[in-house]
Symmetry: C2
Subunit: 667 residues, 2 copies
């Protein structure tokens, strides 16, 4: 039985926090958690719980949580694993709302039963569990640092949800030195009760959070995650780093948090479908956070590169192709706009090369020009170290322009390549949350991620296409096969299902004798195909039971007799019901469309290049249901062999709309 669940906001904004296992011993986690709460400036009530009572971190310690004469919204548990269940029971009696179990030694080491007991107790009593096997929770809005981290997170607008506790602690350190401010960082650990999706539900409307970063090793309830992620990305960018991409990495992840990673291709496609930006490594993810959290959205696709070095300009151009950043290329407009700041040996083409002679004045002028120009929507400003700038002017130039672009609602990213001067400038800008990178690829990657998100957000629609299928009829066919102990469908059963699903298949009918075979052939129109129909003959070709390309009555007669002869020779006891006559279809471009119920994500559809190439080229793409027509078209366009459908070498364009219809109608 599950009691009513408390509002998730009391996890992030508790009015009171108790620590079961609080301690004065500075070598214990119970000290660090209590100390972080108290010294972090938390404004609610703090109740250290320790059987010895006394005072801990300047607060009165209670012998039991039940002695506390106040409602307790959040309890942090840091006692050894064997005492956790008891502690949870006392929380239940106290009617606490959220229990954050930092202690490890549960499902992740095979101790599944104990964990289940704890969750059952919480459910019965209307409590929710975070963890176990976590570092706790930091929530900026209530100045709550209920973690055992050694440093303090810097307040800001990025929310982090992490499955790995150790990595999360590393992230607290890393974000602090990179001045990436956090609105919260929460570890989900074993996800015995609360999972990423539950936390996302709080973060979606939360004002302080401008961007969400998630580290995931494995997903349990994929359908719920899809639902919540899709809602989240409509409000704010979500960046996901999922490890266990590789086969071997997935095995390692399973032995780390017991997660089943599932197919990375499916995960990847679904994240794209949900509008999530998927980062490959922490560095890339944090770079995106730094840039996107502080950038306005671009109003269009025209990006301009301004550089004082030809070489880095060329590299940024390469990177733009890699990260799908569109470079503005109206040469006449560019020339008019940038001639005044570009020496003869520079270039007004994009990349705009204002040359190594460019100082602050030239940068300011070109950046102003691009900011004011209605057809230029975003700028990547590159700097290669020269003697023309002193470090102070470089810093001022970057800071001033970053401010102006933010005010003017245009994205601007900087890269500075060089020695001490550049690095010092980057460090100073970082303190002001101005994204400056020391490699052009990093800068362009950020701009690309911003565009990807923006494109998703502006194109997304709410209407999912769906078709009304006669499900009972399909189920009846499947049931009959199962009753007959068959794990395959007969040809005519499969055809019936295809018809119900609205999938066009070659015209065909079954003939019981030679006369009928001839009649059917003439009805369908030559050329036709003939195949034996018999429950006893599954592999028809092997039995000589197939004849192709029959062009006239005589050929049909010959084929019928040959098939009967072959099949009887092949299996003298086979009961032959007749032959199937079907339209002979011309060779074309083979596609494969598949659907299955994924263990993690539920109903999944696949489309790709068919035939023998599907296995070798693995040119397929996935989506979860439901999906609208735009998304179906996106998925078809994603396959590498899409140009084949458009028609290559003068071939006609294939019926792409028909393929889209088929996917939508049969779903």
């Amino acid at each position: 039985m599950r009691a009513n669940v408390p509002d998730i906001k009391y996890l992030f904004e508790p009015r009171s926090v108790a620590v079961i296992g609080a301690s004065q011993d500075t070598t214990k986690l119970g000290f660090h958690v209590t100390d972080n709460i108290v010294s972090g400036g938390y404004q609610g009530s703090v109740y250290p719980i320790n059987p010895r009572g006394g005072e801990i971190c300047g607060r009165r310690a209670y012998k039991s949580i039940e002695d506390v004469d106040d409602e307790v919204d959040l309890v942090s548990i840091v006692v050894p694993a064997k005492f956790v269940y008891e502690a949870v029971q006392s929380c239940a009696r106290k009617k606490a709302k959220f229990v954050s179990i930092i202690t490890s030694g549960f499902a992740e080491v095979g101790n599944v039963e104990e964990e289940q007991k704890i969750v059952a107790c919480a459910r019965e009593n209307g409590m929710r569990i975070q963890g176990p096997n976590i570092f706790g929770i930091y929530s900026c809005v209530s100045s709550l640092n209920a973690t055992f981290s050694s440093g303090s997170p810097e307040p800001g607008s990025v929310a982090i949800i992490t499955q790995s506790g150790a990595l999360g602690l590393g992230m607290i350190g890393k974000t602090a030195i990179e001045h990436l401010g956090l609105s919260c960082i929460v570890s989900v650990g074993n996800k015995s009760d609360l999972d990423e999706a539950d936390l996302l539900e709080y973060l979606i409307p939360q004002e302080q959070t401008k961007l969400i970063f998630m580290y995931i090793e494995g997903v349990q309830n994929g359908e719920k995650l899809i639902r919540v992620l899709s809602a989240a990305t409509r409000e704010k960018p979500v960046i996901v780093l999922k490890s266990g991409r590789s086969e071997r990495g997935a095995i390692a992840a399973a032995s780390h948090t017991g997660s089943l990673a599932g197919s990375d291709d499916v995960f990847d496609a679904i994240m794209r479908q949900c509008g999530v930006l998927r980062a490959e490594c922490v560095k890339e993810g944090f770079d995106w956070c730094k840039f996107i959290a502080n950038s306005p959205a671009p109003a269009g696709e025209n990006t301009v590169i301004i550089t004082n070095g030809g070489g880095i300009g060329v590299m940024a151009t390469d990177a733009s192709e890699k990260y799908s950043v569109s470079l503005y290329d109206d040469a006449a407009v560019l020339k008019e706009a940038f001639t005044a700041v570009t020496p003869d040996f520079g270039s007004t083409k994009n990349p705009v090369d204002i040359t190594g002679q460019a100082g602050p004045k030239e940068y300011n002028l070109s950046l102003d020009t691009a900011l004011k120009h209605p057809d230029m929507h975003a700028v990547m400003s590159l700097y290669c170290e020269t003697a023309v700038f002193d470090a102070e002017s470089l810093y001022t130039m970057i800071k001033e322009n970053a401010r102006k672009y933010r005010a003017g609602q245009k994205p601007l990213v900087f890269a500075a390549f060089g020695g001490r001067k550049s690095e010092d400038c980057i460090a100073r800008c970082r303190e002001q949350s101005i994204p400056v990178f020391n490699d052009v690829y990093e800068a362009v990657s950020c701009m690309g991620a911003l565009y990807r998100y923006n494109k998703y957000r502006t194109n997304t629609s709410d209407s999912a296409a769906s078709a009304k299928l006669d499900i009972p009829a399909i189920e009846a066919i499947a049931r009959r096969a199962v009753q007959q102990n068959r794990f395959f469908l007969l040809a005519n059963e499969a055809q019936t299902i295809m018809k119900i699903a609205g999938v066009e298949i070659p015209r065909s009918s079954v003939a019981r004798n030679l006369d009928e075979a001839v009649r059917c052939s003439e009805d369908i129109g030559y050329p036709v195909v003939m195949k034996v129909v018999s429950k006893d003959i599954i592999h028809k070709s092997d039995a000589g039971g197939v004849a192709l390309d029959l062009e006239n009555r005589n050929e049909v007669i010959d084929a019928y007799q040959a098939i009967m002869h072959n099949c009887k020779a092949h299996n003298p006891s086979a009961f032959i019901e007749g032959v199937e006559i079907a339209e002979m279809v011309k060779p074309g471009t083979e596609l494969i469309i598949g659907a299955r119920r994924d263990a993690t994500f539920g109903p999944i559809v696949m489309v790709g290049l068919g035939g023998i190439y599907v296995e070798v080229m693995k040119d397929v793409t996935f989506r979860s249901f439901p999906l609208d027509r735009r998304e179906v078209m996106n998925m078809i366009k994603e396959i590498r062999s899409y140009p084949l459908l458009l028609g290559v070498r003068g071939e006609e364009k294939k019926d792409i709309d028909g393929v889209a219809d088929m996917i939508i109608e049969s779903c």
Copy 2:
């Protein structure tokens, strides 16, 4: 006329250097170059040249280079472009050996003629030109800094050759703050005379240089570069960063240094063939430099990951797949080796997770175990920030183990993820040239690059396969076509060339009349194909001049008559020589093999998946000639659809050796 050229060593190890355009004015490049030479500790003679004479940077200045009473090995020219030719002439009269023209304003801005005049003058007088449009040369072995860089490079073992001057100056700054020591850094600029290959020839045997890094925008003499690069990679690793990878980037490169980038696919394949490691961005290239320049070569492929964090272990595993690092996976051996240092909730599987409880002692023990184990060949040691280490112990642990592994000739790379403690440790290690990275992907990428190079070096062979072809016979056919103003070959001409090249083609012969057609068909054996032979009919199918799958005498007779009728109807004035009868080949896996003379790299061979997929999937790979059988097999294995050749879905293995033979024999 070209006089004898001086030994390239006098560019890097000149006994005397003159600076034409030396100046006391600190705002002038002529001051900075002279000052850098003098204050950089150059031990040879320095001759500032300035029409006003006097003293510059504490050295006597000469009014003309011709006044210097000494041999001059290297002259650095920093006067304005219009005075450069005159200066070069005076160098010629002085019989200087090398002239380093820093001045820009030549071919890169269209001033090609002036540049050619300068080169011609140098060639006539046995001088060589570096540049123009460069920052100069720094050479550690002679403590020579003849550049106008504002900082000084740190001495070391990495040689840098860069086409872009601005980027090169940035690199001087960047390598200095990253403590990446340089044996030299040279800018080639417009490559009017000296190019990368010339400089490589000096660097190959040079002892101080352990690794070579090159930044390239465009290649002029590709065949020479291939020759020298192949020789270089046998001695030491070469890392190439080539920009202009993308189509648009190539255009930008062309307008930067006037380079024609050529096909990036071809460039990429040739670099691989030469054993070059190709970096995508400066950051990646420098990371590889830092690691590989200081690492012993691995004795085998078994890499072990040791980590205190499960999450970063999983990410390193993913990265290992991405960068082709083989993880050791003998579970029994790993268990025996690491049980002592791994708590129950850790993992002795690879990644070996010694858990967040691991301190210096546990790291030292596990690293020692791996170092001593004969079956473990390389280690990636990961650290996720915890409270168990103080910063000092972390630094000591990394330094000590780096030392032991170097002494023990096993590669070891570190990653440290976290806040202040990790970053400080990384900074201190960097000063000691110990490669520690703050993202696991960067660490694994380095290990992958080391393995790629090592694999190349241990597998490379000198023997290039080559076949004797009857070239004059092939040329005669081509010549005849040209004489007849044809830009295509007739079918029988193409067939003859295929036969000369030893390429197997379907059996066929030409029949002049119906009787011959029947006779040929019976000789070849049914089924056969029939095609019209006529100079006047190029598009045979359109004219109804082709019949496929003729299975017997009657079908041959019918087809002959139909073809004659169709072709006469199609073009009444066509002169029809007869019909070609050919073996009807069964459908198979289509491959494409091509060869051409590349404008940059000379003879190039291509192999890939044929048919309509070649254009869409772009599944082709390239090599330059000559190439041995091992390299031919490598190239075939590189195509993504290689598994098709091995046979999928129970198909037979294709004749891969036959394909290799064909490539070798027809070259």
